[in-house]
C-alpha cells in the first residue's frame, strides 16, 4: 500500500521534533553538572520523537490507537519539562506544537488505515 500524505507528514514532523531536541541539546551542553537535567530531558524528547517518527509505517511498532496515545504521552512530557523549566520555554512551545500536530495527523482516517496495514 502506498504511503499516504498524512503518514509522510507525521513522520517528517516527528523527525523534525527529534532534530530540534538534538539541536537544543547541542546548544545546552556544557561540561557542568548543572546541565545534566536539561540535556537529559532533551535527549528523552529526542528519543521519544524519533520513536514516534518510526511508527508512521506499515511495519511500525504500534497500532494507530497506541500511536495516538503515545503522542499524548510525549506531549505530556514536553509540557511537564517545560512547566518545571528543565528546557527553554520556546523550545518547549515548538516541541509541544509539533507533538500536537502529530496527534492530529495520527487521528486522520487515512493515516490510521495505513498504519494498521501489515506487510
Amino acid at each position: 500500500m502506498k504511503m499516504d500524505n498524512g503518514s509522510k507528514l507525521g513522520m517528517i514532523l516527528a523527525g523534525l521534533g527529534g532534530c530540534v531536541a538534538v539541536g537544543a541539546f547541542a546548544f545546552t551542553y556544557e561540561s557542568a553538572l548543572t546541565t545534566f537535567v536539561p540535556i537529559g530531558a532533551l535527549l528523552l524528547l529526542a528519543v521519544m520523537f524519533f520513536a514516534l517518527a518510526g511508527a508512521f509505517n506499515t511495519t511500525g511498532q504500534w497500532t494507530p490507537r497506541a500511536l495516538t496515545l503515545y503522542a499524548f504521552i510525549l506531549a505530556g512530557v514536553i509540557m511537564g519539562v517545560t512547566l518545571v523549566e528543565y528546557i527553554n520555554v520556546y523550545i518547549g512551545i515548538v516541541e509541544f506544537i509539533l507533538a500536537i500536530l502529530v496527534i492530529v495527523i495520527s487521528n486522520a482516517p487515512e493515516t490510521r488505515r495505513f498504519v494498521s496495514q501489515s506487510e
Binding site: T68, L69, I73, G80, V84, N107
Partner: protein
C-alpha cells in the same frame, strides 16, 4: 412519579462543569477580596485564614465540595460499567472531604486536620478521575484518554519539581481542566456504559 436517572447523564455532566466553574469563581472571588495572596508562594488553603477572603473561600469550598459529591453520586447512578461506578464513588467521597476543608481551616490544630482532609479529598478525586479515564479507554475513547495522560504527566512533573505551594496550585489547575473534561464528556456522549 419516578425519575429515571439514566435519562439525565447530561444533567450530571453539567453539575460537574458547575463544580469546576464554582471553584474558579471562589478562587477569583477570594483573590479579589484579599490581594495579598501571592501566586506560587501561598497555598490555595491560605485564603481560608486570610482576613477578608476567609468567608468567601470557606463557604465557597463547601459548596464546591458538595457539587463534586453530587456529580460523583450522579456518575455512579447512571453508569453501567464498573470503572465509571468506582470513579463516581471515589469522586463522591472525595467531594465530602473537599467540603470539610471549609470547616477545618489551617489555623485549627496547626493545620493538621485541614491537611488531612485536603490530601484525602485530592487523592480520592484523582483516583476517581484515573478510574474514569481507564474505563473510557475500554469504551473506545482515544482523544479524551490521551488528554488525561497528558494532564497526568504534567501534574506529575509539577508535583515533583515545584515546592509545596506552587505545586499545589499548578496541580489544582490541571485537575480542574481534567475534571471539566470528564464532565464535558458525559454531556457530549451521554456516557452510561460500553457504548461510545
Amino acid at each position: 412519579m419516578n425519575t429515571n436517572v439514566n435519562n439525565h447523564s447530561s444533567a450530571v455532566g453539567w453539575i460537574g462543569i458547575f463544580a469546576v466553574v464554582a471553584l474558579a469563581v471562589v478562587w477569583i472571588g477570594s483573590y479579589l477580596e484579599e490581594t495579598c495572596w501571592t501566586w506560587g508562594v501561598n497555598t490555595i488553603s491560605d485564603f481560608g485564614v486570610l482576613g477578608k477572603s476567609a468567608d468567601v473561600f470557606n463557604y465557597g469550598i463547601i459548596v464546591v465540595g458538595l457539587l463534586i459529591s453530587v456529580y460523583g453520586v450522579g456518575k455512579t447512578a447512571i453508569s453501567n460499567n464498573v470503572g465509571f461506578s468506582v470513579a463516581g464513588n471515589l469522586i463522591a467521597i472525595g467531594g465530602i472531604f473537599i467540603a470539610m476543608m471549609g470547616l477545618l481551616t489551617i489555623d485549627i490544630k496547626n493545620g493538621d486536620y485541614h491537611k488531612m482532609v485536603a490530601m484525602i479529598g485530592a487523592i480520592l478525586i484523582f483516583a476517581g478521575l484515573m478510574a474514569s479515564a481507564i474505563q473510557q479507554y475500554h469504551c473506545g475513547f482515544t482523544i479524551p484518554v490521551g488528554v488525561a495522560i497528558l494532564l497526568f504527566i504534567a501534574m506529575f512533573f509539577c508535583a515533583i519539581a515545584f515546592g509545596y505551594a506552587k505545586g499545589e496550585v499548578y496541580c489544582l489547575l490541571i485537575a480542574m481542566i481534567w475534571a471539566g473534561m470528564d464532565a464535558a464528556l458525559m454531556i457530549a456522549s451521554g456516557l452510561k456504559g460500553a457504548e461510545q
